[in-house]
């Protein structure tokens, strides 16, 4: 016996209300719960769907939610793997070099105060890139909330806060050597931010492709 669309929706809503917020994690849990309930009913359980569902949840809810936590760890692992791969790609030193040259030329042409103002916006540029990607896919393209994509917000925030520490530290200096280090650091941060935006887009595209035509 196969469950109806309403029954599946009921399981989905129940799990969503139990804090399984990410669609990719919930999807697999819904299928598992539905398969088990169908199997019980096919084996001769004549009770209604709701009664069988209730029994299943009493027996297995703890195990299911345990999976939810573990999934997020795997999501983080996927992100760091993708990040490391991007970091080791030949594009990364090239991006860094371009950023370094651009910042150095800007510094030579605008003076130290304006230059400081410009570099203070660098962390915001990367964060905006992520937010823009997120809004386009989540709101415009109407993709659901996916774990790996949302976990990306964490490294974005880390690389948003980190530059502020260095900027505060080097704010008073006019020494050229220190400024060159600051340019290097800002170029590095910008490179990382660009890589993270590229990873976000790739992940969104991957999810879009995977869930295409089956939503």
């Amino acid at each position: 016996m196969k469950l109806s669309e309403e029954d599946i929706q009921f399981i989905n809503t129940y799990l969503e209300n139990s804090d399984v917020v990410f669609a990719d994690i919930r999807m697999e849990m819904v299928d598992h719960v539905a398969s088990d309930i169908e199997s019980r009913m096919e084996a001769g359980d004549t009770r209604s769907f709701y009664d069988v569902f209730k029994t299943y949840m009493v027996e297995n809810k703890g195990q299911l939610l345990k999976d939810n936590k573990q999934f997020l760890k795997s999501a983080d692992k996927k992100i760091w793997k993708a990040f490391l791969k991007a970091l080791l790609s030949p594009m990364t030193p090239l991006l860094f070099l371009i950023a370094y040259v651009v910042f150095y030329v800007v510094y030579l042409n605008v003076g130290i105060e304006t230059f400081r103002l410009i570099i203070s916006y660098v962390p915001l540029i990367g964060l905006s890139g992520f937010l823009l990607t997120y809004v386009v896919y989540h709101k415009v393209k109407n993709l659901k909330r996916f774990s790996v994509v949302e976990r990306l917000a964490f490294p974005f925030l880390v690389f948003y806060q980190l530059p502020n520490l260095v900027f505060n530290f080097s704010n008073q200096t006019k020494d050229l050597r220190t400024i060159l280090w600051v340019i290097g650091f800002v170029s590095f941060i910008l490179t990382i931010k660009i890589l993270l935006v590229v990873i976000s887009i790739e992940l969104f595209m991957n999810y879009e492709k995977r869930f295409k035509n089956i939503a």
């Binding site: 469950l3 999807m27 697999e28 573990q70 795997s74 869930f211």
Partner: protein, 110 residues
């Protein structure tokens, strides 16, 4: 897994071996296959199976495919090329482990 902690260390190998014998499988199918093969002796719980599958996927040993089946989405797992190679290694490791345990527990049989 409800039966014994002894099985826990072999869960990854069990999953890889099953996927090596089937083109693709979904989570519930794996639990039922294991249950059937072991005549109910080994029951893999959701809390053990899915984290293991997700870990293998994150490590690049498994690939994922999503399909709509019976009013819902189903996530199928299949071995990647690396996964197929790793299955051979894991099975060799397990065979070696069983042999060693046999030597320790029942030396007369070896």
């Amino acid at each position: 897994m409800s039966n014994s902690k002894l099985y826990k260390g072999s869960l990854t190998t069990i999953i890889l071996k099953l996927l090596n014998e089937h083109d693709k499988m979904y989570g519930y199918e794996i639990t039922q296959k294991v249950k059937a093969l072991t005549k109910g002796e080994l029951k893999i719980t959701e809390g053990a199976l899915y984290p293991a599958l997700h870990k293998l996927e994150a490590e690049g040993l498994l690939d994922v495919e999503v399909a709509k089946v019976d009013n819902r989405l189903r996530k199928y797992y299949k071995l990647t090329e690396t996964g197929t190679k790793e299955t051979v290694n894991k099975l060799e490791e397990l065979a070696e482990y069983i042999k060693t345990m046999q030597t320790l527990v029942n030396p007369k049989l070896v």
